[in-house]
Each structure stands twice: as C-alpha cells, then as structure tokens.
C-alpha cells in the first residue's frame, strides 16, 4: 500500500491532517506527519521529511503532500538522503495539503499504485466546497 507523508511548516498542522486522514485509512496504512523543526519551531526540515518517507514506505512507494514554499525544497532535498531504490518511488503531489492528503489516503487504501494516488491527490484541487 502506498504511504502518505504530510510536510508542513507546522507540526500541529501536519499532525492534525494526519489525524483526519487516519479516520479514512485502512488499518495497515502508513500516514506519517513531518511538520515543523526538531525544536518545535515553524519551518521544514529535510531530515525529518526523509525519516518520514522511510517510515511511510512499505514497498509500494510514498506520496508526499506539502504546504508552502520551502516545504517543496526540503522535500526535494530529503530525496537526496534516500537510497536509490526508494528515491525512484516517491512523488510530491501538487495538491492542496489537506484535501490532497485525505484523497490520497482513500485512494491508497483501495490498493492503487503511486501514480494513481498522486493523481487523485492532485484532482482534489478541483473539489468545490459550496
């Protein structure tokens, strides 16, 4: 099953999104929050992200949801710390972080592959709210 990593500048945001996503996940599904800095401050930390990716992978790859700005840079930097095999099966979704995470988690719970999970997360951009 494809894992999902949530990268936010805020630890609380990442954990909150994870908490919501867990409501919809399959029991064995991996959803890992990588928010904030090691000292709890606001920011993104490539090492936390790479550790989260490693924990989220069960062999089928990892879809990564990001918030703003440096979340993307830190995630791309995190890719450099992964071994080559894992690096070939991680992907950042160009999606709103919350809606993308929820959609990705549900898609992954169906047993879909990484490309499908990322596509569903990115499709969440078009969800109307009212």
């Amino acid at each position: 099953m494809v894992g999902v990593v949530i990268v936010s500048h805020s630890q609380k945001v990442a954990e909150g999104i994870r908490e919501m996503a867990l409501q919809m996940s399959a029991p064995e599904q991996k959803i890992i929050a990588a928010g904030g800095m090691a000292d709890g401050g606001i920011g993104t930390d490539a090492f936390r992200v790479s550790e989260a990716i490693v924990s989220a992978d069960t062999g089928d790859g990892v879809a990564i949801m990001v918030d703003l700005g440096s979340a993307v840079l830190s995630t791309e930097t995190a890719f450099e710390f992964l071994d080559e095999e894992l690096r070939s099966k991680v992907q950042i979704a160009d999606a709103p972080i919350l809606e993308g995470a929820i959609s990705a988690v549900v898609e992954a719970s169906l047993g879909s592959n990484l490309a499908a999970v990322v596509a569903t997360a990115e499709g969440a951009r078009t969800l109307n709210k009212c």
């Binding site: 919809m24 959609s103 549900v106 169906l110 569903t120 969800l127 109307n128």
Partner: protein
C-alpha cells in the same frame, strides 16, 4: 445490472469519512458502481467523484451496480448507508 434507491440519513451526508467508507466498500467488489443524484452521476469507486457530488442528509440517491457480484455489492452499499455509517 441492479438499481436501488436509497436516502442518505446520516447527519454529515456522503462527505469526507462516509464518502471514504463508501468508496472503500465499493472498491472491494468487482462490479462497476455508479451513484446518481441531483441530475449528476459519479463513479462510486472514485473518492473525488463522490465528494464532488456534495450529497447531503436526506438526499435520495440511485446506486447502480453492474458485474458478477452486483447483488452483493448493491446490498453492502445499501446496508452501509442505512446504518448511517456508524455515525449514530
């Protein structure tokens, strides 16, 4: 092909968690699943399609299942909606 009509009775409607549960249940069957309501039709195995329907409480929907396990699939989805997704 089996077509059933069922009314959504749980408070939050077919949103977020219930939508996810519906899609997960539908995907467990081989049959094709379609939801129709308010003149729109959605693929019952697509979370985005189901969430986009914006189905609220008291909406009557038509669920169409088609395939070798259409009967079981139809029954499972109907039961799930009638059980209010465990909300109450």
């Amino acid at each position: 092909m089996i077509e059933i009509q069922v009314t959504i009775t749980n408070t939050s409607g077919l949103h977020a968690r219930p939508a996810a549960q519906f899609v997960q249940k539908a995907a467990a069957f081989k049959s094709k699943v379609k939801i129709a309501a308010n003149n729109k039709v959605a693929d019952g195995k697509s979370i985005l399609a189901v969430m986009s329907m914006g189905l609220k409480q008291n909406t009557q929907i038509t669920i169409t299942t088609e395939g070798e396990d259409e009967k079981e699939c139809s029954k499972a989805l109907e039961d799930m909606i009638k059980s209010k997704f465990g909300e109450e």
